[in-house]
């Protein structure tokens, strides 16, 4: 970033055009869990522009190197910037050409440092990131927020997912879920999010990563049910004049 060193205060107006103040095009929750063979991650394909559901085919999960999968919510342009940083990181890692490779733990730590350093400069990358992967049979699942808070867990979620999906996961997750059970559990979480999160769209992808590699599913939709009797006459019991 080119900035004149002396005329720039951290919060001065001249510098404002150079740092992120608020997000513009955002992705909503990402949910992920560990299962028997690796990690399963789900995210819808929506890119909201404020309250408008503007973009409906946004891929918010990408594979990183051989061993990792990154999912992001928040500002999509910052996610694209992060993908460029990771691209360079993986490139240099490959250029060593020495049989060593960065695993998910290393990528997660690297991202934590990047996010925290940007936060310290009052110019955050406005994302919550989910980093999952498998290396040498070891499963890894972690999260980094835009202020650099990071942790590892058996199941993680970003944004609304924290409030709506994680309680479900806390209740129903267990070690060694089969692939089918993992997908069913994730779909259950995504369905709740679809019903209750205004920025969710009904077009999602589920990605899986195992020792063999990454597969991202084709986009698909969840079945929803709106035929509740209370919806047929919504104002019954509380009639209004409009």
């Amino acid at each position: 970033m080119e900035q004149k060193p002396f005329s720039r205060g951290l919060l001065s107006s001249e510098a404002d055009s150079q740092r992120t103040l608020y997000p513009y095009v955002t992705g909503t929750s990402v949910v992920a869990l560990k299962y028997k063979d690796g990690i399963l991650m789900a995210a819808d394909m929506g890119g909201s522009y404020g309250s408008t559901l503007r973009y409906k085919t946004v891929e918010r999960m990408k594979s990183i190197g051989k061993h990792s999968l990154l999912g992001a919510s928040g500002e999509l342009s910052d996610f694209q910037e992060i993908l460029r940083y990771l691209d360079e990181l993986i490139l240099y890692d490959n250029m060593w050409d020495d049989g060593n490779s960065l695993g998910p733990k290393e990528v997660h730590s690297y991202l934590t440092r990047v996010m925290y350093n940007r936060r310290n400069k009052f110019n955050p990358l406005w994302n919550s990131l989910v980093l999952g992967g498998v290396k040498n049979g070891q499963k890894y699942l972690g999260m980094v927020s835009m202020i650099g808070v990071n942790f590892e867990d058996d199941h993680v979620a970003t944004g609304f997912g924290n409030h709506l999906a994680r309680p479900i996961l806390r209740e129903e997750w267990h070690e060694n879920l089969s692939f089918e059970d993992g997908v069913k559990l994730l779909e259950k979480c995504m369905r709740v999010l679809l019903y209750r999160d205004r920025s969710a769209v009904n077009k999602l992808q589920i990605a899986k990563i195992t020792d063999e590699g990454v597969t991202v599913s084709q986009p698909y939709s969840l079945k929803t049910f709106w035929g509740f009797s209370a919806f047929s006459n919504p104002t019954a019991g509380a009639e209004g004049s409009w």
């Binding site: 020495d98 060593n100 733990k105 290393e106 730590s109 690297y110 040498n136």
Partner: protein, 273 residues
Amino acid sequence: MFRNQYDTDVTTWSPAGRLFQVEYAMEAVKQGSAAIGLRSKTHVVLACVNKATSELSSHQKKIFKVDDHIGVAIAGLTADGRVLSRYMRNECINYNFTYESPLPVGRLVVQLADKAQVCTQRSWKRPYGVGVLVAGLDESGAHLYYNCPSGNYFEYQAFAIGSRWQAAMTYLEPRFENFMDSSREDLIKDALISVRETLQEEKLQISVCTVAVVGVGEPFHILDQETVRKLIDTFEIVREDGSPAPEPGDAAPDLGEAAPAAAAEEGAAPMDI
């Protein structure tokens, strides 16, 4: 080695395609006291001969811990060795901070070699006058590397550098093929015997040698003197020539030092003609 008109600076080639300054730097390694490394599938052992310039002074430190999973032994200009150890420690710490993971040994060794190469291609620099045996453990197993002042590096099953290295190699050569499956104790025993081979009149005692180990589940550490003494006694390493054993603590008996090698120790200019 002889003086000639092409050896003044490192950026001058000789007509035969040699860089004499680099070769002289490698001579400095041969003048230092011995350092030996051996490795198995799960452990790497470093052992070295510690010489003190006089009975009144302390021994030169030749083994440095670089990180929990990497350590080095040096031979040659120990001051250069200290500087390189500091560089290596720095690289390990920085990598660990960013990636929360230990730096793979192979990468550290390449970085060290590239650093040494720079000094062979700048007219205002000189090559590092120290050979570095790098012992380390990473995901791909146990490794022993040798880094040369020339900027070359090689991986070894077992290697010896410093004065009378040939004696140690003679001991190691018929045995190295079995080292992969050696136990930790056998590896240390072989290291101590190799060290003994490089000592001529002296008895192998704890005052002259230092041993360090790194292995699976065992961070790099220098074995304390008591442990080494017990190991030496267990292996019953005694000189076969029956010469009278010097008083314990006498690192240099007055039998007349093996003159040329001992006189040209680390720190003393190793030249010439």
